[in-house]
Structures are given as structure tokens and as C-alpha cells.
């Protein structure tokens, strides 16, 4: 889209090159098929090798583990471009990179990093992240999944997880569980669970009207026996999975801008070619207002995420800032998508256009990884010093 605020001048040549490469991939490999995938309720697995070759999986992790070693702004731009295709595709990459590769990188042993990260960057191993449970969404500390250590040092895992992106296609799951019967959230540890371990089952969640081009599953663990080295040694307490969520939310704040950009561009193009009452509808004030508001909100969101990325790269960003960006950007993207759909009139309900698909997707993105309301409370607490969670 037209860069009215010359935000590109704040990006380095490499950052622009990364964006250009992913953008081209999305234009050529994802946009032509995504509408059909959405209708069929199918995640396009066939693009995984291409995404891996491009290097988008765990792109901000170091080169020594087979990753691209990009900075966080470039990583954000990748998320933006992927979600310009579809939130489901970006979700796939977010989960693989920020929720599976990142915890292995941050909490794993050197052996675990060497074993998993290069293969995950290459797309040979797909991962999923199990934190949320059916009764514990916004309050993960309440989880009931439990891992108990056996005399020989191995673990036995019981419980279940809900709303797990990539769940049915994953080869490994990062499962967060309380340990050794301790109900406190301080006992939470992360485990690398191969999905072919006896007692592990994943089943697709049916009937989704959002994120239809993404796998969402329910995981069940019944006496799943895990070796000693399945545990992520440096994980400890609820703080560990929340650190992962901060990574993922950062990416989401960028991703949704992509969805909004796609909707804005589609609406703008449509407004210039659709003729009603003898002139292009873009010439009517009401549509111009829609477009002006969309553009304004997108530019503001871009500036927020870009600044957040620079803070993250300098090691100075806070979870509250990430909440701010996730909350704002998901909200404006959802509104942009809805306005774009309306501008498109009846055509806007067709899968041939992206607006309604993005609009439906963004309702999930608005809700997952900390709902809009939860991020509101995080910000409320940050400014007042008073917790309103309970």
C-alpha cells in the first residue's frame, strides 16, 4: 500500500529486502489458493517447504541453529506479510517460531536446541504449543494438566489442552504442565512431547467459522510416558510460558497490520473500479471517510509496532508494551476488515475477496494470546498499580 508516512525510510535495506521477498512469496504462492483453502477448511501444508526455504520459521533465532538470525523488526515484517495472506498462515509461523522454537531456544538444553531447532527451521518438524485448557484460557495458572516424575527420572503426563494451533499436524508438542502433584503455578514446567508417544491424541476441532485455513486441535494426554530429557530444563513457573506468549504477541501485533493492509488495499482498489450512480464509489464522501479512517489506523499501528520492534531489539521492551500493541492493533485490524467488507457491498461476503475472511479470522486473533479484555486489564494495572483481574 501507498506509504503515506514514508515509514519505509525508518527501515533498513535488509528489512525492506526481507519484506519484499516474503511479500512476493505470499502474492505468488498463498493468495491464489487461500480463498479455496478457507472454504475447504484446510491448512495448505504444501507451502511449508517454501516457507522453510525462504527462512521464515524462527527467523529471529540465531544462525548457529539453522535460523536466519534476523532482528525483531524484520521478524515483525515477516509476520505482517504472512498475515496479509491469512491469519491462519501467520498463526502457523507464530506457533512454530515463537511458541515452539523460542521455548526450546530459551529453556532447552544445548542438546535439545541442536536436535530440534535446525529441523524446525527447515520445516521437517512442525510443532504445537499446549498451554490453554478448556477451563483455563485467560487464567492459565489454574491448569490441571500434571506431570509426575517417576523413580527412574522419567515423567508421566496426564491432562488435556484446547485450541491448539498446528495440533493435528505437529510432530512435537511443547506441553506446559504442573509437576509432582503441586497445584501452585510455580510448579509449571515445559515438556517436549513427541506426538507419536502412546497416550497422546490430537483431534481436530470442527465447526470453526474463523481461522478455517489453520489446524486447531484438542490434545489429550493419558499416562503419556516421557523420558527424563523431555523436560525443558530452564523452564520454571507460569512465567516461562508467559515469556513465550510475549514473543508471540509481539508477532501478532505486526501480523494483524498485514490483514488490515490487505483489506484496505482491496477496498481502495474496489472503490476506484466499482461504479454506482454513474461514478466510482471512491468518489463518494462516505467511502472516502471509511478509507481515510482505515489508513489512519493502519499507519498508527505500524508506528506502534515498529517502535516496539526497535525497543525489543535494544532489549528494552516490556510485556505491558506488547499488550498495548497487541490490544490496539488487533482492535483496529478487526475494524478495518469490517469496514472494508462493508465498502465492498454484496461482493464483500464472497471468498473471492479477502475482507470477510480476514474479518472472521481477526475475531480469533482478537481473542487468542490474551483477549482484548485481558490486555486492557494489563494496561489498567500498569497505569494504576491496581490489579483488576480478580
Amino acid at each position: 500500500m501507498q506509504d503515506l508516512f514514508d515509514i519505509d525510510s525508518a527501515l533498513s535495506e535488509e528489512e525492506r529486502a526481507v519484506r519484499a521477498s516474503v511479500r512476493q512469496f505470499v502474492d505468488e504462492r498463498i493468495l491464489p489458493i487461500i480463498g479455496d483453502c478457507y472454504i475447504e477448511g484446510r491448512f495448505p501444508k504444501e507451502i511449508i517447504p517454501g516457507l522453510a526455504e525462504l527462512g521464515v520459521l524462527g527467523a529471529n533465532l540465531p544462525e548457529e541453529y539453522g535460523c536466519a538470525g534476523l532482528n525483531n523488526v524484520a521478524y515483525g515484517l515477516i509476520m505482517q506479510e504472512l498475515e496479509r495472506g491469512d491469519s491462519g498462515i501467520r498463526s502457523f509461523a507464530s506457533v512454530q517460531g515463537a511458541l515452539v522454537m523460542y521455548p526450546i531456544f530459551a529453556f532447552g538444553s544445548e542438546e535439545q536446541k541442536k536436535e530440534y531447532l535446525p529441523k524446525m527451521a527447515a520445516g521437517e518438524i512442525i510443532g504445537c504449543f499446549g498451554l490453554t485448557e478448556s477451563d483455563y484460557g485467560s487464567n492459565p495458572s489454574g491448569m490441571i494438566t500434571m506431570a509426575n516424575e517417576q523413580a527412574d527420572g522419567s515423567w508421566v503426563l496426564n491432562g488435556g489442552k484446547m485450541w491448539i494451533t498446528n495440533g493435528s499436524q505437529a510432530k512435537i508438542a511443547i506441553v506446559w504442565a504442573k509437576t509432582n502433584g503441586d497445584p501452585s503455578d510455580k510448579s509449571i514446567r515445559g515438556f517436549i512431547v513427541p506426538t507419536n508417544t502412546p497416550g497422546f491424541t490430537a483431534k481436530d476441532q470442527k465447526g470453526k467459522l474463523s481461522l478455517r485455513a489453520s489446524d486447531t486441535s484438542e490434545l489429550v494426554f493419558q499416562d503419556v510416558r516421557l523420558p527424563k530429557d523431555a523436560i525443558l530444563p530452564k523452564s520454571g513457573g507460569i512465567k516461562s510460558p508467559l515469556m513465550c506468549l510475549t514473543q508471540a504477541r509481539y508477532g501478532i501485533s505486526w501480523g494483524v497490520i498485514g490483514a488490515a493492509m490487505a483489506c484496505y488495499e482491496e477496498a481502495l482498489d474496489y472503490s476506484k473500479s466499482r461504479v454506482m450512480f454513474g461514478k466510482a464509489i471512491g468518489g463518494f464522501q462516505l467511502q472516502q471517510q471509511r478509507l481515510a479512517i482505515m489508513l489512519t489506523e493502519i499507519v498508527k499501528a505500524q508506528l506502534v509496532s515498529l517502535h516496539l520492534g526497535r525497543l525489543k531489539d535494544s532489549g528494552k521492551f516490556t510485556p505491558q508494551q506488547v499488550s498495548f500493541a497487541k490490544r490496539n492493533n488487533c482492535d483496529i485490524a478487526t475494524n478495518v476488515a469490517r469496514e472494508a467488507r462493508r465498502l465492498l457491498g454484496a461482493n464483500g461476503i464472497l471468498a473471492e475477496y479477502g475482507a470477510m475472511r480476514h474479518m472472521a479470522n481477526l475475531e480469533s486473533v482478537y481473542t487468542y494470546e490474551g483477549t482484548h479484555d485481558i490486555h486492557t486489564l494489563i494496561l489498567g494495572q500498569a497505569v494504576t498499580g491496581l490489579s483488576a483481574f480478580t
Binding site: I33, S273, N347, E352, Y353
Partner: protein, 329 residues
Amino acid sequence: MANIFAFAESRGGALRRVAFETVSAARALADASGGGEVHALLAGAAGVAALAAELGKYGADVVIVVEHAGLANTNVEALAATAAERIKSGGYRAAIFSASAQGRDLAPRVAAKLGVSMAGDVTTLELAGDALVVTHPAYAGKVIATLKLTGSPAIVTLRPGARAAVEAAREARVESAQPVSDPAASKLVVKEMVVGGGAKLDIGDAPVIVSGGRGLKSAENFKLVEDLAAAFGNAAVGATRAVTDDGWRPHSDQIGQTGRQVSPELYVALGISGAIQHVAGMRNSRTIVAINKDKDAPIFKVADYGIVGDVIEILPVLTAAVKEARSKG
């Protein structure tokens, strides 16, 4: 008064239509200069001299015939050396080649040998004082550039079809000449001619796209669309979403809002009604032809030329006509 050189392209012992176009364009320049001569170079295997008279019909005063067994197929190095030598010794004001595959191969080498620049793929040309002023469609045909050639001679390649060949009959004098360099010594030679061959083009790149919609009625009928594409030789086959959804064509061929956005020089819409979703993918095409049964179909609003009628009935006739026009080119 200025003499003008024209390269008369032949293939397989026959003149190509572009030969008459270059000679005719040279004639017009010579006349505009106050009556110079047109000298056409005709090269080929033994027997090619018999074609010289045809060039006279379009205004060649002299036909320089180079017959050599090594010139049965194109031999660009020998032709470039021979043409450059002749252009230099003949003192021509301008030299015109066709912007055909052969002309585009040959003319730049001739220009470089003569140490002058050239203008490629021009659509008009006129003398202006000591210079030759030409127009040339650039930026995928979206911009027309006017260029001035101040070198001597001024060398151009002329876009095929840009000017019709106009008869200006005269008795051409025939001069025989030999290749300036031995064709057998060329570092690049044609090993084989493949007649009728054309590579499969992608719709994103093809200068011509022939595209079918539901009006084709079945997947089998797309054979007719492929035949038309083959007749153009530089065409790719596209389709509407309805057609790809029905599995008649692969999704990669879909043109429109969610498919590919294309802007070829020529877009032929066959049995396509022109829904806004489709038009969004092709409205930037330079020339649009539509064939549709329904005279009120929206596609006729974006088309430059339309035929109302049954596309299945019209296609074979159109394919034959295009084939004929192309073979003359």
C-alpha cells in the same frame, strides 16, 4: 535526398511480411528526403534471388542478393558483417531492420560494428534535419517514447505490423554480393529449425492471453482455446474463476481479483461475461477482444473489439485466420 537501407527478412526461401514492411518504411523515408533510393539486402541459400522482384513491388530500387549455402538458416555473424560492410560503403542515411526475432538479433550487432547507436522496436520514424526521430512504445506499452538518432547512419528495428507495407512498384536492380565473412567460420550457428514450435508461456509473461469462461461449456472445449493460443505463437491460456472452480483448468490459470492480475498487449476474452472480479484482473490489458453470446454482457464495456456470437462456432474460424496472419508476418 537520401538513400535508405532495408533488411529483407526471409525464412526457408520465402520472404516474410516484415520484409515488405521494412522496404516500405524505407521507401517512405527516401521519398520524404526528396527522392533517394531504397536498397534492400536479401540473403539466403541459392535461389533466394528469385524473390528480389517482390521487393521491387514495395519500393526497393536495388536488391543486394547474397546467396550462399551457409545462409540457408540465419547466420547472424556473417549477416551482420555483410550488412555492416554494405551500409558503410553505401553511405546510407538510415538502415531499417524488423523488430522480429531475427532483426533484434542482427541489428544491434550491425550498429555496434558501425559504432553507432540504434533505436529498437520503433512504430514511427521520420527524418528531421540530420536526425531521425522515432517513437517507441516503452514501459510495457504504457508510455510512448520519442527518441532522436543523431548517428550516421541511423539504425532502427521496426515493430512488425506497426506500418502496413504499401505498394510502390518499380523494377528493382539486382546486385549480387558475397558474405563478407565466411558463414562456416561463425562462432554461433543454427543447428536445426523447429517449425511451428513455441514454448509454453506463463500468463504473467505472455504478450497475448486467450482466456475462457463458462461460455466454453466444457473442459474439452478448452482445446479450441489452446488451438487459438498456439496460432498466436506467443499466447498463454487463462481462465475465469468459475472455470477453475469447476476444475476445467488449473487454478494457476485463473485471472481476476483472487487470481493473477495481468496486462498483456492483447487479451482475448472468450465466453466470459465480465464480472467485476474477473475484470479486476485484466482491465489493464492494452487491447481487449471479447467474444460472447450476450450482446449486453459487461465484458463488452471494457473490450476494444467485440463479436457477438457463439464462441464455440467462432473459435475455429478465428484460429485459422490468426494462423494465416501470423505465417505471413
